[in-house]
Each structure stands twice: as structure tokens, then as C-alpha cells.
């Protein structure tokens, strides 16, 4: 009994699968996403909260906003510094970040995050661009 041929074929397939990412990316550069700020966002200097907080927790913030608005009908968000904002994706977030494809999508696509915000919201409520 000698199945060495079959075993080697199986091993070759296994190694091809394990090293798949190396083959898939061969000769390709993987540019790091570079989200662009609009002029308005740049001028505002800071978002609703600090940049570090927004980078890590923006989805939580939006989730809380949605629940607070829809369930409690409260529309005013008070930041840690005491500033007040309307809790609205379309009117507050997208007011500055009106460039979804160059801002939101850059990182989301890279990390394969597909938020369901846009199932309901249109990404350009003011009809700009």
C-alpha cells in the first residue's frame, strides 16, 4: 500500500490554501486609507467629541443618538465640554462630513465594515456635489 502521491497532492492543496493571502496580494500594493476632511470639517477643528474618542466610539455614539431620538424624543446632545449638538446623522454629522465616499467609506471599505446607516439615510441630504 502506498498512497504517497495522493498524500503529497493533499499537502500541496493545503499549503496553497494556508498561503492564499500571500498569493492573493502578490505584486499588489495595499495603500493605507486616507480619509479626507472637508474644508468645513477642518475649520471646525474638533468633532462632537475628541478625535481619539470619535475614531474608536463613533458607532456607539450614533447608536445612542438613534435610540435617544427615536425612543425618548430627545434631540439635544451635550458634550463633555458642555457644547450642545442636534443628534442627527443627516443634519449634524453630514453637515461637516458631507463627503461620504472620501471620508466614511475609505476606512469602512478597508476594514470591511458595512454599517447599516445607509439602509435608511441618504448620504448627501443637502444634494451637494
Amino acid at each position: 500500500m502506498n498512497d504517497r502521491g495522493k498524500i503529497i497532492a493533499g499537502l500541496a492543496i493545503f499549503i496553497a490554501i494556508v498561503t492564499l493571502p500571500f498569493w492573493f496580494n502578490m505584486g499588489k500594493a495595499a495603500p493605507v486609507p486616507d480619509p479626507k476632511l472637508t474644508a468645513k470639517a477642518k475649520a471646525a477643528k474638533e468633532c462632537v467629541e475628541s478625535t481619539a474618542y470619535m475614531r474608536a466610539e463613533h458607532m456607539q455614539l450614533l447608536d445612542v443618538w438613534r435610540d435617544t431620538v427615536v425612543r425618548d424624543a430627545k434631540r439635544v446632545y451635550v458634550t463633555e465640554k458642555g457644547k450642545e449638538y442636534m443628534m442627527s446623522l443627516s443634519n449634524t454629522c453630514l453637515d461637516c462630513h458631507s463627503n461620504k465616499t472620501e471620508f466614511c467609506d475609505r476606512c469602512h471599505d478597508y476594514a470591511s465594515a458595512r454599517p447599516y446607516c445607509w439602509d435608511c439615510h441618504i448620504d448627501n441630504p443637502k444634494g451637494e456635489n
Binding site: P21, N25, A30, D63, C107, D109
Partner: protein
């Protein structure tokens, strides 16, 4: 307390803090982010090939298929082709179902005494169920992680993510496979700790992979749902690894390096551990040999060439003496050997 699982638990704990403190306090990001993962992958591939080739070289002295059904026969009994296959096709089907649904494990029973002394065998389904959950959850988690290694992320992978998170629990949406992996790993661990007769046969090498995989799932869940790591930097690191241009971005955090170190340890440990059942399942002789032991001859590769002396050779050697002694022979010598010799000799010369 049992030192077998305590040692494994402490080992996993120490490994985590090695990576955590190594990157947070000593700044060994390149070591834990690039060098160790590459080394681990190399050890995994070379070790895996070495192990399997060792098995391929091993002789199979005789067929040992296990039969769990009626064998092929000429008596009119219907053959159980799946559990007692006699053809290659049926063997492939048996192997496929074994690998995909763990049929052997499903057959697991537990003996009980009923009414004092009556023996009964009950279906013991939970090991099979949680083993199945564990393996499929782990597979899904591994495939899902390809999003960190492929750019652009393929559509099929995005579909898998959507299916895996279809309950839309929390934000970021909960991946069911991650939770299932942790739950199943904990079940398999508690089974080994709390069931006495299983604990008795459990070794540190049984506990260590469970703690390690549990640790991988736990740190992964922590990063995604609790502490929030910078996923863009992490993909930058992982893409650097697979495009062979390693880069180590700032500020990824010790928790990620702990997670990555766990995975590296798992990869490097894999070929030398029970986890090699990944390759071994394909080579189980009780599963992958057809039950045709009476129909085809299985030659043992160990067999050395045996010197034989058949009766024909014996008679050739002693024919004349046998005839002289009056013993019966199968081929009578010719009446006139001299004539035959004359007739034969020219032909021999021609040759």
C-alpha cells in the same frame, strides 16, 4: 485543583503578559508583530509537512477498516455501503461525512446502570454537538479574519460577515461565530474539568490548546467589542505581513499583540500537538480503507523476500533418486536421457 489544567492556564496567562508587557513596556513591537508571526508560520508549514510525510512513509501492514454495518456479500443481505464501503467512491463519501459531520463522534454512547444493575447505553450527544459548534465556529472565525489579509475584501467574504452578524446585536454588530467559539471552548474545557472520568484521562496537552483557543477568542472579542482597537492600523500591519513589506504602525496596543502572540503560539505548537488531527483525519486507516479484505490482497510492505523451494523445484532436484527409490513423481524422466540430451543440446547452444 489539578496541576494539569492549572499549569496550562498559567502558561497561557504568562504568554499573554509576555506579549502585552513586551510591547507596552519594552516596545518590542517588531518582535511580536513581525518576527514571531513569520517564524510561527514557517514552523507551522514545515512542521505540518514533516509530520504528514512521516505518516506517508509509514507502512500500512494490514487493512484495519472498522465496520459498522453489513459487509458486501453474495448471500443477498443488503450491504451498508456507507458504514462498510467496498468501493473507492463509498470510502470518499464516508470520509467526507466523517470530516464534515463527525459521524464517529455522533456514535458516542454512555453506559448507565438502570434500576441498580441493568446496563443501558444512552446517546451522549453533547460532546458531538459542541465539538461541531467549536469546529465550525473556529472555521468561520478564521475565514472571516481573511478581511485583514486581503485587499480589496472579496464579496464572498462580505456575504459571510453579513450572515454571521445577521442578528445585528449591539455595535459593532456581534459575530455569532465568535461568541459560539468561546462558548464551545468553555464547554469542552468544563467537560474535561468536571466530569471525573474525562478529567482522569486529560493531560496538560489537552487543556493547553483549549485555554489557548479560549484566550484567542476572548482577546479577540475584547478588542472588537470592549476596548476598541484601531482596526485600520491593524490591517496596515497584517497587510504588511502578507505583502512581505512589514510595517509596524504606532499605537496598536498590547492587547492586539497578546492576541497575535496567542495565534503565533497556536501555529507553532500545532504540528507537535493533538491538533494535527487536522491532517491526521485524512489518514485514519480505520476510515479511509475500503472493507474489501477478502476481495483484494493487501501486501504488507514490510514483507522481506522469502526464499521458497517449491515441490516442482524439489522434484527437479531429486527426480532420479526418487525414481530409483520407487517414489511416485509427477514428471517421469524420459526413457532415453541420452537421446534427449542430444536433441536438447543444439538448442541450448543456439541460445
Amino acid at each position: 485543583m489539578n496541576n494539569k489544567y492549572m499549569i496550562s492556564f498559567i502558561a497561557v496567562f504568562v504568554l499573554f503578559f509576555l506579549a502585552y508587557l513586551g510591547t507596552e513596556a519594552l516596545g518590542l513591537d517588531v518582535l511580536f508583530g513581525v518576527l514571531i508571526p513569520y517564524a510561527a508560520l514557517a514552523v507551522f508549514i514545515v512542521g505540518f509537512v514533516y509530520k504528514v510525510m512521516g505518516w506517508a512513509r509509514s507502512a500500512v501492514p494490514f487493512r484495519i477498516p472498522t465496520t459498522c454495518g453489513q459487509q458486501e456479500n453474495q448471500l443477498g443481505f443488503r450491504q451498508n455501503t456507507l458504514d462498510c464501503p467496498s468501493t473507492a467512491g463509498a470510502v470518499v463519501l464516508r470520509m467526507f461525512l466523517e470530516i464534515v459531520t463527525f459521524r464517529s463522534l455522533f456514535r458516542n454512547t454512555r453506559m448507565n446502570f438502570r434500576e441498580g444493575h441493568k446496563v443501558s447505553y444512552n446517546l451522549e450527544i453533547f460532546l458531538w454537538l459542541f465539538a461541531l459548534i467549536f469546529h465550525y465556529a473556529f472555521l468561520t472565525v478564521i475565514v472571516r479574519h481573511l478581511r485583514f489579509f486581503l485587499e480589496p475584501v472579496p464579496k464572498a467574504l462580505q456575504l459571510l460577515e453579513t450572515v454571521d452578524s445577521f442578528m445585528q446585536i449591539g455595535l459593532p454588530v456581534l459575530y455569532l461565530s465568535g461568541a459560539a467559539l468561546l462558548v464551545a471552548a468553555v464547554f469542552l474545557l468544563l467537560r474535561r474539568i468536571f466530569i471525573g472520568n474525562v478529567r482522569y484521562i486529560s493531560l496538560a496537552s489537552d487543556f493547553f490548546p483549549l485555554f489557548l483557543i479560549g484566550g484567542i477568542a476572548f482577546t479577540g472579542i475584547l478588542m472588537r467589542y470592549v476596548t476598541k482597537v484601531d482596526i485600520v492600523s491593524i490591517k496596515q500591519l497584517t497587510m504588511g505581513l502578507v505583502t512581505l513589506h512589514p510595517t509596524v504602525p504606532e499605537g496598536i496596543g498590547g492587547l492586539f499583540y497578546g492576541h497575535l502572540f496567542f495565534v503565533s503560539i497556536l501555529l507553532a505548537y500545532f504540528p507537535f500537538s493533538k491538533l494535527m488531527h487536522l491532517g491526521g483525519i485524512f489518514l485514519s486507516p480505520t476510515r479511509n480503507l475500503p472493507t474489501d479484505t477478502r476481495a483484494t490482497r493487501h501486501v504488507n510492505p514490510w514483507n522481506y523476500p522469502v526464499e521458497t523451494h517449491t515441490y516442482e523445484e524439489y522434484e527437479d532436484e531429486f527426480r532420479e533418486k526418487m525414481v530409483e527409490a520407487g517414489l511416485p513423481v509427477e514428471i517421469m524422466p524420459e526413457e532415453q536421457p541420452a537421446e534427449e540430451a542430444e536433441a536438447d543440446s543444439p538448442s541450448e547452444e543456439k541460445e
